[in-house]
């Protein structure tokens, strides 16, 4: 009996020692970009980059889908499961409250306005080309998919109140759609603004963009048409 208790105590002591603190990374005076695996909607995504900024506005992006996965404010990311010992999970963990967006590709070639938005694009159908940093070291992601060359840049707006995203297509062989938002409910407001969900976040689309809301089986989607071979869309996310 004594031995059993002793063993239990030693086990407990050991597990407490194992509850180690996170290994926190934060951007100092420049953005911190981190390639890692990331869990999103219960699935391990393997070609993900997370960007932490000095303004403490952070996001995660799936390089093989062209998808802005999620955004969050505050501390950037915990890499304990990557850089402690072998880091078997190799998972980076966003710190703070995360606003999940979508794992689906931002761009698609729809057969018509009502065609279902694809959940994903096949690995071989999107050639990710990496990224280029601007003067403030924020990345523009580059890839080729759906017959177009794409650049996708997400930057901090208004000192951290919002994120701005500009998606540009070049040499596009066909009109493409961009799915800007998806949710149970999307309401159009003045000045090209849209409130998504239960005021979870607000999208503001640039003037002149061919934006429209459509109903789907699961709720609503906000789409923008990129009709020309060279075209571009800028919108902001405020939350």
């Amino acid at each position: 009996m004594m031995c059993c208790l002793a063993l239990l105590t030693s086990c407990a002591a050991y597990s407490m020692a194992q509850s180690v603190s996170p290994y926190v990374i934060n951007a100092a005076n420049k953005p911190y970009l981190l390639r890692s695996f990331l869990m999103f909607e219960g699935k391990k995504r393997t070609h993900v980059i997370s960007v932490g900024t000095p303004e403490k506005v952070n996001y995660a992006y799936d390089l093989k889908q062209g998808a802005l996965l999620e955004v969050w404010r505050g501390d950037f990311i915990d890499v304990r499961e990557m850089w402690e010992d072998r880091g078997e999970p190799q998972l980076a963990k966003p710190l703070g409250t995360v606003l999940p967006l979508s794992a689906a590709p931002a761009l698609a070639a729809l057969a018509d306005k009502d065609a279902v938005w694809p959940d994903s694009i096949a690995f071989d159908d999107l050639q990710n080309q990496g990224y280029v940093l601007d003067k403030s070291k924020m990345p523009t992601f580059l890839y080729a998919a759906n017959g177009a060359d794409v650049s996708d840049k997400i930057t901090v707006l208004n000192g951290g109140a919002a994120l701005s995203r500009t998606i540009s297509i070049n040499n596009s062989k066909q009109p493409l759609y961009c799915r800007v938002a998806v949710g149970q409910n999307i309401e159009a407001h003045k000045n090209n603004s849209y409130v998504v969900g239960d005021k979870a976040y607000t999208i503001k689309v640039a003037d002149g963009a061919k934006a429209f809301i459509r109903k789907t089986q699961n709720g609503k989607e906000l789409l923008v048409l990129l009709a020309n071979a060279t075209d571009s869309l800028t919108y902001s996310i405020t939350w």
């Binding site: 063993l7 030693s10 280029v132």
Partner: protein, 675 residues
Amino acid sequence: MKKSTYLLSLLLLGTGLVTVKAQTQTEKQIYPIVTVPIPKEIALEVGGMTFLPNDELAVATRKGEVWIITNPYMKDGQQPKYRLFAHGMHEVLGLNYIKGDLYLTQRAEITRLRDLDGDGEADEYRTMYSWPLSGNYHEYAYGPMLDKDGNMVVTLNLGWIGYGASLSKWHGWMLKFTPDFKLKPFATGFRSPAAMALNNDGEIFYAENQGDWVGSGSIMHVAEGDFVGNPAGLIWSGEPGSPVKLRKQDIPDTGEPEFEVAKRVPGLKTPSVWIPHSIMGNSTSGILNYTDNGNMGPFKGQLFVGDQAQSNINRVFLEKVKGVYQGVVFPFRRGFSSGILRMNWGSDGSMLVGMTSRGWSSTGKAEYGLQRLTWSGVMPFEVQTVKAQPDGFELEFTMPVDEKTARDAGAYQLSTFIYKYHHIYGSPVINQSARSIKAIVVSPDHKKVRLVLDSLKEGYIHEIKMEGLRSENGKIPLLHDYGYYTMNRIPDGEKLVLTDANKPTGNIQVAHHMEGMEHHQMGNMPAAGGAVKGNTDLGKHVIQQPETWTKGPDKTILLGTKPGLKFDLTNITLKAGTKVKLTFKNVDDMLHNFVLTMPASGNAVGEMALKMGLDGEKYYFVPATPKVLAYTVLLQPGQSDTIYFTVPNKPGIYPFICTYPGHYMVMKGQIKVIK
């Protein structure tokens, strides 16, 4: 006549012109190591290294950074300077300056880095090619290396799920990329191909690590379409562009030696030079060809091979016999500060050695490091080359040998052995038998010794030990007096006629015949070549509940492993005399055991296990010593062993360790015995 010679010798001695006895050489004396300082805040866990045209050293790390180091040589007594060039990549395990650009391999892709605005930092991270991943930690990627035709070469690890598996496309493959980055699958069968290099013929050699289907680490030549041993990658051999014709079902799992299987499975390639595990190294990790710009002794054209687990560098001499690469491995330099991963030639001919050991144990205890291996210029007394002959070997030395010791069979000890080829992780040494010397011929300049053996065994590893050899000048022993020759092909040619003139003096040191003997029949026979004998006391490994335990065990313990060479319980408190039933389950990705030792004896037992020689695995790396109280067998990943023992009556701290070579330093715990 004799008297005057004697007087002359005395005179010469007095003048200091005749040296009576030179100092025995040491590695430290011949090849000094210089440590390159690293600023405290930089975790320089080296995954890739390359020199830039301006002689700066670029280092890529496992935490995804690229650092550029100015003056790693510490010229003029100046400290090296570090600047951060790039960051954020996913575990970079290869870096190379190719055709004016920096290329690297991270888990998911080949990346090219460019500094577009000249501010000293990369601002273009261009994905040149991206491959799928499963999310398994073991899917490492290495390269890119430039081949002789201008293609980039990358190798991809298997994933680990209790055994090696190819969970995503091309893992377990060597891939080539044309200059415009079209993929050409090149070869498969890889398990953990941590390093590769070109030899002077521009042929590709890679380093494999002991594991499933890999009895011991090795250096292997790779040609297009080769299947190099582990069948997991074969699931992709039917893909368009695959030059490999074999399928998984073509590969037998019998435990025969690989060379036997290769005779009936065309396309199966066997190692060029085996690196016997635990003797020479455990984790073959870096290869550096000794090209003209190196300055490391009289070994140009040979390969230096680094080891992550044993923090050492070995030297490999290769030759081609009947069109097949084979050769010998010798120790070269031990004592590096951490686990070796990458080696590069500096502009002064010194060797930069980049290291990391996070997640794996290494003999050098530092978490990471960067050192410079230099040559003092002092000629080492070494075996320069070993060339196979139709009836034995020709050893070539760096300086003349003393003829008397060279012609004495007692100066040598030779044996042959091999490993099993099967899905089981690693392999014990099998079919070991002693060789004897029938003739010895010393060349007129005393720099070559031809040994004629009783027989050669094609396909086998030939252990060559030369403890009794001395140099002609100074009568010093060899700096490294043992090596292992892989005899893939026995050369044709004239065998030496045995005569009185070439008959050896003395008798060869006989290692006892080991063929077909179970370890528990060994009695007190000495371990083959090992200074420490293996344990034969089965009373320390009781696998059935003792009959006297009528009420069963007092305590049942379930012990497991955690990643990074750890037991999952490290502090156990038990009363003296407690009857214990302990089940140890190995859930890690390498071999482990559990050995309970006397107080203050953990390190001593761990060190003894390192000295068990080729027989080590046969005895589960448990040395014969009263310091060992109880042990489990050496366990494959996924296996368990249940043992029964009684806690000693004397209170104290009783360490337990894993005695697999090198693990004991981190894989340990203790039983605290109380009244």
